[in-house]
């Protein structure tokens, strides 16, 4: 294992742990998802660059486009939550009432 591989692997696992444990805001959860997507982008790019499989380097771009879709839907849910509940605490999403 190289230090580069260790870094992006630990970055992905850190984002996953931050998403799984103790989120108070919905926006914090979305930011952790974005961190996971960032580590996936870097991992795909490094795979391309280290193996010199340069025909593969369109894959990080497509991943970035799908990541933009995920981020926009997440932020739309954030806006809708802020309009229905007045806040974006995940605690208030568990109340099953508006």
């Amino acid at each position: 294992m190289t230090p580069v591989h260790f870094s992006f692997t630990s970055t992905f696992i850190l984002g996953l742990m931050g998403l799984a444990f103790h989120r108070t805001h919905l926006l914090s959860a979305l930011l952790c998802l974005e961190g996971m997507m960032l580590s996936l982008f870097i991992a795909l790019s490094l795979w391309t660059l280290q193996l010199e499989a340069t025909a593969y380097s369109a894959a990080p771009m497509l991943l970035l486009a799908f990541s933009a879709c995920e981020a926009s839907v997440g932020l739309a849910l954030l806006v809708a939550t802020a309009r229905t509940h007045g806040t974006d605490h995940l605690q208030s999403l568990n109340l099953l009432q508006c």
Binding site: S7, G35, S45, L49, S57, S72, C98
Partner: protein
């Protein structure tokens, strides 16, 4: 160059520690900006200058600006930075865990990882990643069309989610 890449890798991991340790969303967005900038440095260190440019302009310039703008919806009177006790506890736990795992791999680092793409070529006109991304428009055209279709679909999903007047997907908005 390996020292620079090591520094950027450290910035990447510490940026994600700053995001994952549950601070207020203002500071979490700042940590993600640091992580994205350090990721650009890592990609430049490996020779992927075009992918790094895309990451910097699209990701950092487009998406994270929207995230920082949306941080206004998560406003708090007393936002927690990394110095507060609960956040600092998570920071210390994550950093200690990373150090333990890194010491587990210590001494067994495979040193062939510092390759730069196209470094051993004599004369290159375009960098390898620029060529590869340009192939998205020729042989990767199907995925390009799929990607455009997904983005268009996402536009309508967002418009339905945020539509008011009790007509959208969420009726109580």
């Amino acid at each position: 160059m390996a020292y620079f890449v090591s520094l950027f890798l450290l910035g990447l991991v510490l940026g994600l520690v700053a995001v994952a340790s549950n601070p207020a969303p203002y500071f979490a967005a700042l940590g993600l900006v640091v992580a994205a900038g350090a990721g650009c440095g890592v990609l430049v260190g490996h020779g992927g200058s075009f992918l790094s440019l895309v990451l910097f302009l699209i990701y950092l310039g487009g998406m994270l600006v929207v995230f920082a703008y949306s941080a206004a919806l998560a406003a708090e009177p007393f936002p927690e930075a990394w110095g507060d006790r609960s956040v600092l506890g998570y920071v210390l736990v994550y950093v200690l865990g990373l150090l333990v795992i890194a010491s587990w791999f210590w001494g067994g680092w495979y040193e062939g990882g510092w390759v730069v793409v196209d470094e051993f070529k004599e004369l290159v006109i375009l960098r390898g990643d620029t060529n590869g991304v340009a192939m998205m428009y020729s042989s990767g055209g199907g995925l390009l069309v799929l990607c455009a279709w997904v983005l268009l679909l996402t536009l309508f999903v967002v418009l339905e989610l945020t539509r008011g007047l009790s007509r959208g997907a969420l009726r109580a908005v």
